[in-house]
């Protein structure tokens, strides 16, 4: 079950609970020291299970069986890969984080099933469900929160981190350093951290070895399972929930025509030249499954973006050197807005905060400045 093997605590129970699974994970990782359990957290406004089930009617060469275990769902997936004809099969568990729109799926089956089984289910259910993206600053904060929660004397050492440059291709790898150093080095070099494999040590004993990444994927390699579930994962998904709140229900109102603007404010003056606006246009044009219309390019930019997934669209404005406004249309799914914001962060700068306040202006804003 879930790739955790039959020898674990799970095997004996046909109707297991999440806490039993946690124990199962603990024994599995102890018995298989080179293995890990992979997690994928996603955002869904409604229970995603219905969409999973719906895949059975949409795809002939894939089947999804679902068992409701009360506090989580078991999802068994079998699918034939079109190109090679081989079959991928396995199962994963998925549960909702209380009072949030975030759901986490996990499995101990290897990366092949994680990407082509679990990953296939998630991707085929877009845009009804959405990936979320943490910034590297979010990742650093998750580690801050974890280190405070676990043990005042604990140390978090990065075993391996991967960072990328914002505007150019290229991967930078950092090894065996305290995590603040890794994030500082990446920031100073104008890079963003994409994934971090770390060890949390308390008096020379490893209490957790795990990976966190920007795209909602986390991995538990060894250590205390309760620490992972109760602290690291919860802290991590809190950032997903913040994004979900920011990017959900932001469509223009069909009744009143009113719009809601999302303001992305960068700490640095990202847009100072025509080239900077072109970089923004390039980033948006490069977004998968979408097209752009440029209405104004210089010095202020106005770009319309259409998403092929569900017909969502929005207008994107550069309103000053530090600010981008995203204005969703009547269709403006969470999935689409999340993808756009991630693209801005990845390609331009990660120093941004997002706000949804509607501004009001007075005469002093128009004269005398």
């Amino acid at each position: 079950m879930y790739g955790l093997g039959e020898s674990s605590d799970l095997g004996a129970y046909s109707n297991c609970s999440l806490s039993q699974i946690r124990r199962g994970i603990e024994s599995y990782l102890k018995e298989n020291s080179r293995s890990s359990v992979s997690f994928k957290s996603i955002v869904a406004r409604e229970n995603p299970i219905e969409q999973f089930d719906f895949l059975n009617t949409r795809f002939n060469k894939g089947s999804v069986e679902i068992v409701d275990h009360g506090d989580h769902y078991e999802v068994d997936v079998t699918r034939e890969i079109k190109r090679s004809g081989r079959t991928v099969s396995g199962s994963f568990a998925i549960f909702n984080h209380e009072d949030t729109q975030v759901w986490t799926a996990f499995t101990a089956h290897g990366s092949d099933f994680f990407e082509r089984g679990l990953g296939w289910v998630i991707s085929k259910c877009e845009p009804h469900i959405s990936e979320f993206y943490a910034t590297s600053r979010d990742l650093e904060t998750v580690l801050d929160m974890f280190s405070e929660a676990v043990d005042y004397n604990s140390k978090i050492i990065v075993t391996q981190a991967v960072a990328y440059s914002h505007r150019e291709e290229g991967e930078i790898s950092y090894k065996t350093r305290p995590y603040p150093e890794v994030f500082r080095a990446a920031r100073d070099g104008g890079n963003y951290v994409d994934s971090v494999l770390f060890k949390s040590m308390s008096e020379d004993e490893v209490n957790l070895e795990a990976t966190i990444t920007r795209d909602g994927t986390t991995k538990l390699s060894s250590g205390n399972v309760e620490l992972y579930f109760n602290y690291l994962l919860e802290d991590y998904v809190s950032f997903g929930q913040k994004k979900a709140e920011l990017f959900t229900n932001k469509e223009r109102s069909r009744d009143t025509g009113d719009i809601q603007e999302i303001e992305v404010k960068f700490a640095n003056p990202v847009f100072q030249s025509t080239k900077d606006n072109e970089d923004l246009i390039g980033a948006l044009a490069d977004l998968s499954r979408s097209s752009v219309t440029v209405y104004h390019k210089n010095p202020y930019a106005h770009i319309s973006v259409l998403d092929f997934n569900d017909g969502s669209s929005c207008d994107v404005f550069v309103t000053d050197s530090k600010t981008v406004k995203i204005v969703p249309s009547y269709r403006g799914s969470t999935n689409f807005l999340m993808r756009i914001s991630d693209k801005l962060y990845k390609d331009l700068d990660e120093s941004a905060v997002e706000l949804t306040e509607q501004q009001s202006y007075g005469v002093e804003d128009f004269v005398g400045g």
């Binding site: 499954r289 209405y295 000053d320 007075g362 004269v367």
Partner: protein
């Protein structure tokens, strides 16, 4: 089709966009400054005014309260020729009448005083102001009751805070006659002598939401302009979930036929804008443009759109050397215009020319077009 014509289409696109910006600037600034002050304040972006037999279609009207209103006209640079200047002024003089302006309660009312605001591009503004002054006040050719207030605009390209700036052209001495408005910061104060001719600066952050709500102004949009709007904002509404699944699977490359009638589509565009009054002929022009770009086909009752997504490097085989810039390879307006210039037939081109001629005829009786301002 020549590359000059292609450039011309791109230029028209940009000129129209600037006109939408300018109207959006006035809508946003006046609404923010005066919207709360007056219960019936209304900025009409698509006015159609009854003047006896004639319908007048200025670029905007503003109802403040029963004491004051404005009629706005965004003008091309005034011609040099005296006869042509007189003709322009005759059009503007049509607005000097008891015209009912829309107000926020849904009806129309004639304000006690209604001025005419003429917005022109900045560089030649003093010269135009001087000429108008000579004709109106010195030669007494016109006897305006409304004040024709001349405003120049300038796009300040400060990279950090780019903005549209508006100033009164003082050569023509007419001021806003809004003294009876119960408001501290009247336009006559802000832009007039009393306020030392201040500049009204409108930033993208002020007007962007207004431009999104109503991406068209009260002049016929060029075919490519409205076509991009239809493609991104309206046609996606016609697709059902199954069709989106097809798009998901094909990265939007599968052409999905969308059948539209001109009337139905116009209604959708107007619903999109909430109280928009886009004309059917504008929509037909955009559809005919898409036919010329081989992206739509007219049949007996309407049009069938070959709706598809355009992604990078699709159908780019005819890119000229040296023109492989981003906007020319991935951007919808450029893709449309390039396709149009490659596919349009003589018959289709003649049809598009008729729309241009119709616009010019409209200009002579109703309003001036945007011309080549900007």
């Amino acid at each position: 089709m020549s590359s000059d014509s292609r450039e011309e289409l791109l230029k028209e696109f940009n000129v129209y966009d600037k006109a939408v910006d300018i109207v959006s600037c006035w809508e946003s600034s006046l609404k923010y400054i005066y919207g709360e002050e007056f219960d019936r304040f209304y900025f009409d972006r698509f006015p159609s005014l009854d003047a006896g037999e004639k319908k007048l279609t200025p670029d905007f009207t503003v109802f403040f309260d029963e004491s004051y209103g404005l009629i706005g006209e965004v003008k091309r640079t005034f011609p040099d020729d005296r006869k042509a200047i007189l003709s322009e002024l005759e059009q503007i003089a049509n607005y000097d009448d008891d015209l009912g302006l829309k107000h926020a309660e849904g009806g129309r009312a004639v304000p006690e005083t209604c001025d005419i605001i003429i917005i022109i591009e900045g560089s030649s503004a003093p010269q135009i102001g001087t000429r108008l002054k000579r004709i109106i006040t010195e030669e007494d050719e016109f006897d305006f009751t409304a004040n024709p207030v001349l405003i120049r605009y300038h796009f300040n390209q400060d990279a950090l805070m780019s903005r549209y700036e508006f100033q009164r052209v003082t050569q023509l001495e007419f001021e806003f006659q809004d003294d009876n408005l119960d408001v501290e910061d009247s336009l006559s104060y802000i832009l007039g002598e009393e306020g030392e001719y201040q500049t009204l600066s409108v930033y993208p952050k002020h007007f962007s939401s207004f431009k999104v709500r109503k991406p068209i102004c009260n002049d016929a949009p060029p075919g490519p302009y409205l076509a991009t709007f239809l493609w991104h904002k309206i046609f996606p509404e016609y697709l059902n979930e199954d069709q989106y699944e097809i798009w998901q699977a094909t990265n939007g490359q599968k052409r999905i036929p969308v059948e539209v009638s001109v009337g139905g589509l116009t209604q959708r565009v107007n619903n999109y804008m909430h109280n928009g009054t886009v004309k059917q002929v504008w929509v037909r022009r955009a559809l005919d443009f898409l036919c010329g770009a081989d992206l739509a086909e007219e049949d007996g009752s309407g049009y069938t759109i070959r709706f598809m997504g355009f992604v990078q490097d699709v159908g780019e085989e005819n890119i000229q050397e040296g023109s492989q810039e981003l906007d020319q390879t991935r951007e919808l307006a450029n893709i449309f215009i390039r396709r149009y210039s490659e596919s349009v037939t003589q018959e289709e081109e003649a049809r598009m020319e008729e729309y241009d001629e119709d616009d010019e005829r409209d200009d002579s009786t109703e309003q001036s077009g945007l011309g080549d301002f900007g």
